[in-house]
């Protein structure tokens, strides 16, 4: 009787290889981190005017958008184009291992991003949270990260060409930052402000900000959390259903 390798061993090997790949591409991750950190450093007035949680949640949300749209979708599109997934799919392991390994790496990235923002916020702007605020913020960052990973999956599900994935994700990232940040501040008008509040940008930012001050969690935040989860589920489901493992 033929035996098949243990799934845990295969997943462990994949995870190790994906970690090494991510480490060798660390420059691109550092670049993704730069934008939110620069915003945090340069927008001192925002901290004074709207408070620390507002600034931190804005920066974490922008970082999450970058991880999901620029990091995840581009790496999946590139590896699909090279045929790396096809080579892995002919191996005796469940196909879900390939994506679980990728998602675990993104989870680590989300954790690193949130930690870096918290450290930068404490060192530069002297923003500190309660222990429960830190813990809940990490959890809400993971939920928020799922929305953008789902959006990244949607992009690679709908678009095959890696160059088009790259340009689409960059454009979406830019739109999220510009419309999200300025729309939320009311610069683009009240109507846009309302749309932004219930957009994937607004709901993610709100749950992260509320997570930083657990006492401020309201009924509206719970609704925002449910909408966030709904976004993540819808984007992921469509992205997974439309996803093709190869470009041919």
């Amino acid at each position: 009787m033929q035996t098949i390798p243990k799934t845990s061993t295969a997943l462990g090997s994949l995870l190790r290889a994906d970690l090494v790949t991510q480490w060798r591409n660390r420059r691109s991750f550092i670049l993704l981190l730069l934008v939110p950190v620069i915003i945090l450093i340069s927008w001192k007035g925002i901290v004074e005017k709207f408070g620390g949680p507002f600034a931190l949640s804005t920066c974490i949300t922008i970082g999450l958008v970058a991880i999901g749209l620029m990091g995840y979708s581009n790496s999946v599109a590139r590896d699909r184009d090279k045929g790396i997934f096809q080579r892995l799919r002919v191996a005796p392991m469940p196909t879900w291992c390939i994506m679980v390994s990728r998602l675990l790496i993104q989870l680590i990235m989300i954790f690193l991003l949130t930690t870096v923002i918290f450290i930068a916020g404490k060192d530069i702007d002297h923003i500190t949270l309660s222990p429960s605020g830190y813990i809940i913020s990490f959890l809400t960052a993971i939920v928020g990260g799922a929305v953008y990973l789902g959006l990244g999956q949607l992009i690679v599900g709908l678009i095959q060409n890696p160059e088009t994935v790259n340009s689409t994700s960059r454009l979406t990232y830019f739109l999220f930052i510009m419309v999200g940040m300025f729309g939320e501040l009311g610069v683009l008008g009240d109507q846009i402000k309302q749309i932004v509040l219930w957009s994937p940008y607004g709901t993610v930012k709100r749950i992260i900000a509320a997570g930083m001050q657990p006492g401020s969690w309201s009924q509206e935040t719970t609704t925002a959390l449910l909408v966030t989860i709904a976004y993540a589920v819808v984007f992921s489901l469509i992205g997974i259903r439309k996803f093709k493992w190869n470009n041919k």
């Binding site: 462990g12 090997s13 790949t21």
Partner: protein
């Protein structure tokens, strides 16, 4: 012959892409220790057939059994029995040769001691390139690594999709020797190729596939002998002497495929 002795049995295989019928009722078997070649013009259905055996695409009908394991019913068991070299070499370009070997050893459940790793690297003449990233290897080095990974877990059946395309004559000869060495060790090989020279040099039997249909299956010399008097084969013959290429052109036509 006892059908349990076949390492691969493909029966009544049909594959559609939308309305396009790519593989039409294809059936063949591969014996243990046999090098079996699948020949055909571009778009004939070779890679689709191979992809179905690899479990990369699900056929609309037909059965594929690898060493007693149905590819659709017991895919992981079937995959554990086969080693694969895909048409395009495809590993993470950021990983080194050693890291790629260790990754696939883990995936296939092969214990990889430092001594074993060194032996594999020496065997494929990549010991000095062990620390090189995959993206820095030459085409021939990439092919050797890809083949080493295909046989890492001592599979009973090795699938090679156009393994020598783009290789220089030295690398091609070396690959043929490796295929023959696999046969000596009892592995079966199913390869697709456009090279009649390759088919004649290494294949024990070949099947010609065209427009998704299997149109001939036999030993290379037997195919030449049985088609010597075929008028289309004679018309395709360029030097008076009928070759396997003449048989191929005679049976599949002179028209260029996409």
């Amino acid at each position: 012959m006892n059908t349990d002795n076949y390492i691969l049995q493909v029966h009544g295989l049909n594959i559609f892409y939308g309305n396009f019928h790519a593989v039409r009722n294809v059936s063949f078997e591969v014996l243990p220790g046999e090098i079996f070649g699948l020949l055909g013009p571009n778009g004939a259905g070779k890679t689709s057939t191979l992809s179905a055996v690899e479990g990369l695409l699900k056929p609309q009908s037909g059965s594929i059994v690898v060493a007693g394991n149905d590819v659709n019913k017991k895919p992981l068991y079937a995959k554990a029995t086969i080693g694969v070299q895909l048409q395009a070499t495809s590993f993470q370009s950021e990983l080194t040769v050693s890291e790629i070997l260790q990754l696939y050893a883990g995936i296939y459940g092969v214990a990889m001691s430092p001594g074993k790793l060194t032996a594999i690297l020496k065997n494929i003449k990549l010991d000095e390139a062990a620390g090189k990233k995959f993206g820095q290897l030459s085409g021939g080095q990439q092919q050797r690594l890809s083949l080493a990974i295909a046989v890492l877990h001592e599979p009973r059946l090795v699938l090679l999709d156009e393994p020598t395309s783009g290789l220089d004559p030295q690398s091609r000869r070396q690959l043929w020797e490796r295929m023959e060495s696999m046969r000596e060790k009892g592995h079966s090989v199913l390869l697709t190729t456009h090279s009649m020279e390759e088919a004649e040099a290494v294949c024990d039997r070949i099947a010609i596939i065209d427009h998704g249909r299997l149109i001939a299956i036999d030993k290379p010399q037997s195919l030449v002998d049985s088609n010597r008097s075929n008028p289309e084969v004679i018309a395709a013959s360029r030097r008076g002497k009928v070759t396997l290429e003449d048989v191929f052109i005679g049976l599949t036509g002179k028209a260029i495929r996409s």
